[in-house]
């Protein structure tokens, strides 16, 4: 790589050392997250337990690690990676630096689904909340696709119909909440995002969908740079822009819907993390998508550690942490790098 640079005088478009560093970051943050909490666990013993070596954790400590902290950290990592990657992809597809994963009505649809599950009197649908919110999100996005019609020719029409569908779903959700005032608190808590429900069952099913979506998105990530140009330019560079847009939006929506149904609405990750990575690396190329996924995962694992420990033994909603830390950090990056305005 060095020889190439000195020959052409051009800096590389993506430095893969950054990706390797972000892998290391996720590993360190992950170990920190499962070590700390109201009860601190021995770091060496954690490693021994995870790798199946003798002299690992036993008894309650082992249960705490395996059944509580590990699934929770994994779910945070999966959701963080899903939201950050989807945000970055939506920003490219819609050529809008402020696009976030909830843009096409996924958040409002999931919110409505969750509200239906929580407010349903008589039937115990609370355990089905993830399924309700998942289908709520998918249904809302499909409705946006259906209404826009012109999606293939004009991404902005999809964006606008997403906003309309989102507003409608939010209105129905508010109506249902007003009719069932006892459900206000659980719905509100879900809207702020929560990882307290994490268990191996949720981790297993959400990892299937999220990993499939991430593999698809990272596979097409290099070509996504073509969507930053006009459709004719992208076509002339060997891309079918319509097909690529559909693949990207469907995969990003699958990741978002899964994330939101597993953990509620966790804001800011989808906007902050992509811009943070772009700001630090001075690169907007989607070759950085894997790095964005890894940093998103680390960000949410760290945010969850904060949510669990800052007011210990009480817990803060994770959405509060992501917004509290994310918003000022985002503004600093924005001001320094002038990414949006330039």
């Amino acid at each position: 790589m060095k020889t190439q640079n000195s020959n052409s005088g051009l800096s590389p478009i993506w430095n893969w050392k950054i990706t390797a560093l972000s892998f290391a970051l996720l590993f360190v943050v992950g170990i920190l997250a499962i070590s700390f909490g109201p009860v601190s666990l021995n770091f060496v013993k954690i490693i021994r337990t995870l790798f199946g070596l003798p002299d690992g954790l036993t008894g309650q400590d082992r249960t705490l690690l395996i059944d509580l902290r590990l699934p929770r950290a994994l779910l945070a990592a999966l959701v963080g990676a899903a939201l950050a990657t989807s945000g970055a992809v939506y920003q490219t597809v819609f050529r809008n630096p402020l696009a976030d994963p909830y843009l096409l009505g996924a958040a409002a649809g999931a919110g409505l689904g969750a509200t239906i599950a929580i407010t349903s009197a008589g039937a115990d649908l609370y355990s089905l909340l993830p399924i309700f919110s998942f289908f709520g999100a998918i249904l809302a996005v499909l409705t946006s696709f259906f209404i826009s019609g012109k999606f293939f020719a004009e991404p902005n029409s999809l964006l606008l119909s997403g906003i309309a569908v989102g507003s409608f779903a939010t209105a129905v959700q508010t109506y249902l909440q007003q009719r069932n005032s006892s459900s206000l608190r659980p719905v509100y808590s879900w809207i702020l995002g929560e990882l307290t429900v994490a268990n191996w069952q949720i981790v297993t099913w959400s990892s299937i969908y999220i990993l499939i979506a991430l593999v698809i998105l990272i596979t097409v990530s290099k070509q996504l740079d073509g969507l930053m140009l006009t459709d004719e330019e992208a076509y002339s560079l060997g891309i079918n822009p319509n097909k690529l847009r559909v693949i990207a939006v469907v995969a990003a929506t699958l990741a978002t819907a899964t994330a939101v149904s597993a953990s509620g609405l966790i804001g800011f990750v989808g906007i902050v993390v992509p811009h943070l990575v772009r700001g630090i690396t001075h690169r907007v190329t989607n070759r950085g998508l894997l790095t964005i996924a890894l940093v998103g995962a680390s960000f949410l694992v760290l945010a969850d550690l904060g949510a669990r420990t800052l007011l210990s033994p009480a817990e803060l909603p994770i959405g509060v942490i992501t917004a509290f830390v994310g918003a000022p950090f985002f503004l600093v990056v924005l001001r320094k790098k002038r990414l949006v305005t330039q």
Partner: protein, 252 residues
């Protein structure tokens, strides 16, 4: 040779291109002229292969629609400017088709550096494309087309919104492509400049080709005036170079 036969394009309920029959010669610069709404840009998109059409457009005997085997560069009138992308990254995108996306070769990197120098952009390679002036952006677009090493380049109004100095600089850059044997098809609103640089001119009006031929033939043809509803005057300078200007009584 690109052979266009009975080309028709419908957009919604409108026939944007109607029964077009022309031949575009390899290695020559062909310019599409005509008033706004004549269908010039749609014709370029059809030549690119991205615009559905009826009739036939054969490039070296092969139908162009959705044929990704060709290497055609496209320079739009209103490019989408990627926020936060550097000039070198932007120009490097031109190598994506040859090298595969994200796999630029050592040769490509050297070529991009050479072309940046040739188009006067070296030194600006780390600037954001969004920070470039209109003339610099146009040169970045041409640089990207040059590194693509295309057989055909389609340019939509490459000199619009540029001052005269930058118009000449950009047109000279396009001539670099011609020197490399590339076939050039452009639209241009300035017919004087079209006559100066292009070998062939196609005059379009309301989706139809009114006349086509060598620049000299077209410029002195009465149909050219008809295409602009007799609102232009053609003068010939002492050097023999034609100058086309709008009549003052426009609108009367």
């Amino acid at each position: 040779m690109i052979k266009v036969e009975d080309l028709n394009v419908r957009l919604g309920h409108r026939n944007v291109l109607k029964d077009i029959n022309v031949e575009i010669e390899d290695g020559k610069w062909t310019c599409l002229v005509g008033p706004n709404g004549a269908g010039k840009t749609t014709f370029l998109k059809a030549l690119l292969g991205s615009q559905p059409y009826s009739g036939s457009i054969c490039d070296s005997g092969v139908e162009v629609f959705r044929n990704h085997d060709r290497n055609v560069a496209f320079v739009p009138q209103h490019p989408q400017i990627p926020i936060g992308m550097s000039v070198s990254e932007y120009v490097m995108l031109g190598r994506s088709k040859r090298d595969g996306w994200g796999n630029e070769s050592n040769k490509s990197r050297n070529l991009v550096a050479d072309i940046l120098g040739l188009t006067g952009l070296f030194g600006m390679q780390n600037q954001y494309v969004s920070q470039l002036s209109g003339g610099e952006m146009q040169r970045a677009l041409i640089a990207r087309a040059l590194v693509q090493e295309p057989t055909l380049i389609l340019l939509d109004e490459p000199t619009s919104a540029l001052d005269l100095h930058h118009q000449i600089a950009v047109l000279n850059n396009i001539e670099l492509l011609k020197e490399r044997g590339v076939t050039i098809v452009s639209t241009m609103h300035d017919i004087t400049l079209a006559a100066m640089y292009a070998e062939k001119i196609v005059v379009m009006q309301e989706g139809k080709v009114l006349l086509h031929g060598t620049s000299e033939f077209v410029i002195h043809s009465p149909e050219l005036k008809a295409a602009f509803e007799n609102r232009i005057n053609v003068f010939t300078l002492e050097s023999g170079r034609p100058v086309i200007v709008a009549k003052k009584d426009l609108g009367n």
